[in-house]
């Protein structure tokens, strides 16, 4: 098994670091329904970690627990080795955990650039007065934030729609803008909730490329949920498989491919 402090080297030669986030015996219930049952896994520095499973397996719930939208009844979340107290979603975001949403949550009324700039809100510390007279810290910050935003916009190849209101964009581009907004906050962990849901093959290829590029270029730790098995196996370093709220597999894509429980869950077995 992996050592907690030390990392490992992936097949394609990237070096993965120590554990950034650890989920310990997480259980989440909605009334009588158990969405997540006693699940533990970790996310390591610099890796692409996938959570997969059939519909209703509790993947999105898991992501919502990590990002603070849901509060688990049992279990512990450790962030950078420290147990994380119960937090509001915005506090989790301020800690450096950025996310995207399955159904896209963008500021529809704002332009692409404005949307991306909101990702920098937490990096602004200047007071209102300083902003009002536009001197010193406020000016420096705005210039710096703008530069970061433009860099990410370039990186994700959405320069041509910088000034377009988001509401007018097609689905695939919206997904990319959402990724840009999450990325611009320079997160310790980037959570992607079905980044390729509802996309055509071409858009999926683009998105996969961007996810790999982001990980490669910025060394961003990424945890993602995805339906498309093919995509997941190509992208991720390690995979957690969930089914009916339970963890049924955890390991490299190759381990998962040969895991009988996973095969059963996806193909179905006769229960008799």
């Amino acid at each position: 098994m992996l050592d907690n402090a030390e990392g490992y080297v992936t097949e394609d030669g990237r070096k993965i670091g120590g554990v950034v986030m650890e989920m310990k015996n997480i259980t989440l219930r909605f009334g009588g329904v158990v969405a997540i049952k006693d699940i533990s896994f970790d996310i390591r520095q610099g890796e692409i970690r996938a959570i997969i499973g059939p519909n209703g397996a509790g993947k999105s719930s898991m992501l919502n627990v990590i990002s603070g939208f849901y509060v688990p009844q049992e279990g512990q979340v450790l962030f950078k080795g420290e147990p994380r107290p119960q937090m509001k979603p915005y506090e989790v975001a301020q800690q450096g955990i950025a996310r995207t949403f399955q159904n896209i949550a963008l500021f529809e009324g704002m332009t692409v650039l404005d949307n991306v700039m909101t990702g920098r809100l937490n990096k602004m510390n200047s007071g209102l007065l300083s902003q009002a007279i536009w001197k010193g810290k406020a000016e420096r910050e705005e210039v710096e934030n703008r530069e970061k935003a433009e860099n990410i916009i370039d990186f994700l190849e959405i320069q041509h729609i910088r000034k377009t209101p988001v509401a007018r964009l097609p689905y695939g581009l919206k997904k990319r803008v959402e990724l840009a907004r999450a990325l611009v906050s320079e997160p310790s962990i980037l959570l992607l909730d079905e980044p390729m849901a509802g996309m055509n093959v071409e858009e999926k290829e683009d998105m996969s490329r961007f996810i790999l590029d982001v990980n490669d270029e910025f060394g961003t730790t990424i945890a993602l949920i995805e339906h498309d098995m093919g995509v997941v196996m190509d992208l991720s370093d390690r995979v957690v498989v969930m089914d009916y709220g339970k963890k049924i597999g955890d390991g490299t894509p190759n381990d998962i491919r040969n895991n009988q429980a996973v095969i059963d869950a996806y193909l179905g077995v006769a229960h008799d």
């Binding site: 509001k88 975001a93 500021f107 909101t118 809100l121 602004m124 209102l128 907004r181």
Partner: protein
């Protein structure tokens, strides 16, 4: 120039000035509606309450003196000091921020995610509660408010127009000041919401709660801030109306005039509130001037509502409101 046209011009100018005051109240509505989807019926009462508080502080009135005297059998009414206008305005602002916090903490935090009609009902309750509190705190008699704004006819305009048209326009200095202050206020609000960090966060919350949370914006903080800003706008409106016609409880009724203003301008647009206010102000004065004599006058009472009704039929989102397009 024919005499009628000159009169009409004067009426037009006066209408503009009245419209500015409508716009100020409407502005407070728009701010809260945009950021939280709450139609704040209490906006007019907030203007009244802030004006009452301002007068009370300036005069050194003891708050809740009626209750205190009734319970303890004392006869206190005044502290015996007078607070300068500027300081009193600052203290009143602090009171409005406290009010914003209380409203958020004890009412709307418990109503997150409720139907708009429920939020609206809550603000109606809030309006009458606040009116009662204002009455208990400061008494119900009509008060004079004087924070040192210039008042009375503007001699320069009177003289200039007399030289040109042989007829001097009556324009109140207070109206001119109100217009300038309203313009500055709107400019400040637009700059604040477009360029400041807090303004960006505010727009973010107005647009999408979930997305705002995910970029690390605290909804609670933004809502308190928005209610505070609305309180500030209410205070400005309260000062203007209070100086013009005394601080009295009918002040809360001006909130109703803001409704047609919003139907015209659109509930989500700051410029819309301004333009809507001006159109209503000018429209009702000109209508009264031109048509009023034919129908026996008093058209100012209903003109704004009829105009709003026509707008609702032909352009329900208002002049500047976001057009609602459902994709199918």
């Amino acid at each position: 120039m024919p005499e009628q046209l000159v009169f009409a011009m004067e009426v037009f100018l006066n209408g503009l000035m009245a419209g500015v005051l409508y716009a100020l109240v409407a502005l407070g509505f728009v701010l809260i509606f945009k950021a939280s989807g709450i139609f704040n019926y209490a906006q007019g009462v907030m203007a009244l309450f802030s004006a009452l508080t301002l007068v009370g502080i300036m005069e050194g009135q003891v708050p809740f003196s009626h209750i205190i005297n009734a319970v303890f059998g004392t006869e206190i009414h005044h502290f015996g000091w007078h607070v300068p206008a500027l300081l009193a305005i600052l203290i009143t602002m602090a009171v409005m921020v406290l009010f914003a916090w209380i409203v958020q903490r004890y009412i709307f935090r418990h109503l997150v995610g409720q139907e708009p009609i429920i939020l609206f009902m809550a603000t109606i309750g809030l309006a009458y509660f606040l009116e009662g509190v204002g009455d208990l705190m400061w008494g119900s008699e009509i008060k004079k408010l004087d924070v040192g704004l210039p008042q009375g006819i503007n001699d320069w305009i009177d003289l200039t127009t007399y030289n040109i048209f042989d007829y001097g326009f009556f324009i109140d200095n207070l109206d001119i000041v109100a217009t300038v202050i309203a313009a500055l206020l709107v400019a400040a609000l637009v700059i604040f919401s477009q360029y400041s960090k807090e303004g960006r966060a505010m727009r973010a919350v107005a647009d999408d709660h979930q997305a705002a949370l995910s970029v690390g914006v605290s909804l609670n903080f933004i809502w308190i801030m928005v209610w505070s800003v609305a309180g500030f706008v209410a205070l400005v409106a309260g000062i203007m109306w209070g100086t013009k016609s005394g601080v009295q409880f009918s002040l809360s009724l001006i909130a109703l005039k803001a409704l047609p203003v919003l139907m015209l301008g659109g509930f989500t647009s700051i410029p819309g509130a301004i333009v809507g206010g001006l159109i209503i102000g000018v429209g009702e004065k000109l209508f009264e001037f031109a048509i009023g004599p034919m129908v026996g006058g008093a058209t100012e009472n209903w003109f704004a509502y009829v105009l709003a009704l026509i707008f609702l039929v032909f352009r329900p989102q208002g002049l500047f409101g976001e057009k609602i397009i459902e994709r199918v």
